[in-house]
Amino acid sequence: MGVRVMVVDDSTFSRAVIADALAEGGYEVVGEAESIDSLIKIYDECKPDVVTMDIAMPGADGFECSKALIMHDPKAKVVLVSSMKDEETEQEAKRVGIVGYVQKPVDAESLVKIINNVMAPDSMYKNLEHSAVDIFKEALAQSITRMTKTTAEFEDGTVGNQAVSQGITVVIGIIGKYSGNMIFDLAVDTADKMAKVILRREAKNREEVVSLVAEFANVVGGVACSMLNKKEKAFGLRVAPPSVFYGEATEVVSPNIQCQNVFAETDFGRMALSVGFKKGSVLWM
């Protein structure tokens, strides 16, 4: 079934232009409203998946209409269509709960892209959530094999967002359509043994071991993100430079994110990897 769209605009001409752009994208225009007066009634009658909303309208403007609509139906998906595009308008739109923003004059391509994004994020997020842990596991396995010429046994851990460090923790922020974190953790002794094999000598000092672990985690994160991007180009995932924490019993928490944990039993000891993403906002253009 096609995506059902309702168009709110005070100008008959604008409604026609938007309706044409929508039709071109294969969407069905199921209702039109020209002011706040008929907005809720028509919305209830036509039950659209997405509402496009003009900003400048006599009487109640697009923000007021959007607020009224979202209050009426918190699940309403409103895309703002406006000739104004500045930071303040965007911020206000986000505060109101508007999910997308497209600039007038409306070009069909941008509008279609925005509506596809508005309609798609959940399935795309699920796709990421579903495949992330396996791909990070694969990236970890590959990296262990490539860098140390050894193999590891894997064990899936629980889902959660808290862990106690075994000694050294690398935190790598992930940025893209969905942002998240990868946390790589291992005991100092495990890190020392791995460093010795990779360096083919004893590490000079703790500093060198820590840098090597950071670089190792960075490779794992980078490889995993490019594998995920290959699966779904729109993820656009990139890794931020690693931060490494080491010291006594550090508790590591990722508030508001459900992380999936996986453990690798290696020749050097146990390594823990945890990865989680949060749902991002829709694309703004």
């Binding site: 935190v171 590591v252 508001n256």
Partner: protein
């Protein structure tokens, strides 16, 4: 990066904290450190990507963290740094860094993006960032000492 270039982050800190109920925000000391830091207590790590890369960290000792979380939660008693207190502090970090991105963009550097916050809580931790230099700024916020570390390149 030089000390002035972190102003958008400091402005964000000074801008956001009053919105969370804090009244006096004093900037105490600015220091430039190598890429290693020490922390005893709690630290929020937020990764940054875009034209600048690295991390922004916000740290405080455990007692300060409890006081800070309590203030954020309108004076509710915080005896332990439980998940609610942790979530409050990490949300502060998120708001400050998101606002910093907006400030950077207004001063002509758009396209910065941040990762969700990770909290690290430990007695005596060393933190090594993958950046050449870290700028640390100490703030005293309603009597609570907070360190903001910026490691961006």
């Amino acid at each position: 990066m030089d000390v002035n270039s972190i102003n958008p982050i400091l402005d964000a800190f000074v801008n956001i904290l009053p919105q969370l109920g804090f009244k006096t925000i004093e900037k105490k000391a600015v220091k430039v450190a190598e890429s290693s830091l020490r922390s005893s207590g709690l630290i929020v790590n937020i990764g940054v990507m875009g034209p600048l890369k690295g991390a922004i960290l916000i740290g405080m000792d455990t007692d300060s963290a409890k006081k800070f979380a309590s203030k954020m939660m309108m004076g509710m008693e915080v005896a332990e740094l439980d998940s609610l207190a942790q979530s409050a502090i990490s949300e502060m970090g998120n708001m400050v860094c998101a606002n910093a991105c907006t400030n950077f963009s207004q001063s002509g550097m758009g396209g910065l993006d941040i990762s969700p916050p990770t909290l690290l809580i430990g007695k005596d931790a060393t933190i090594k960032l993958s950046v050449p230099k870290v700028i640390g700024v100490t703030f005293v916020v309603d009597g609570i000492t907070i360190d903001v570390y910026v490691g961006l390149f």
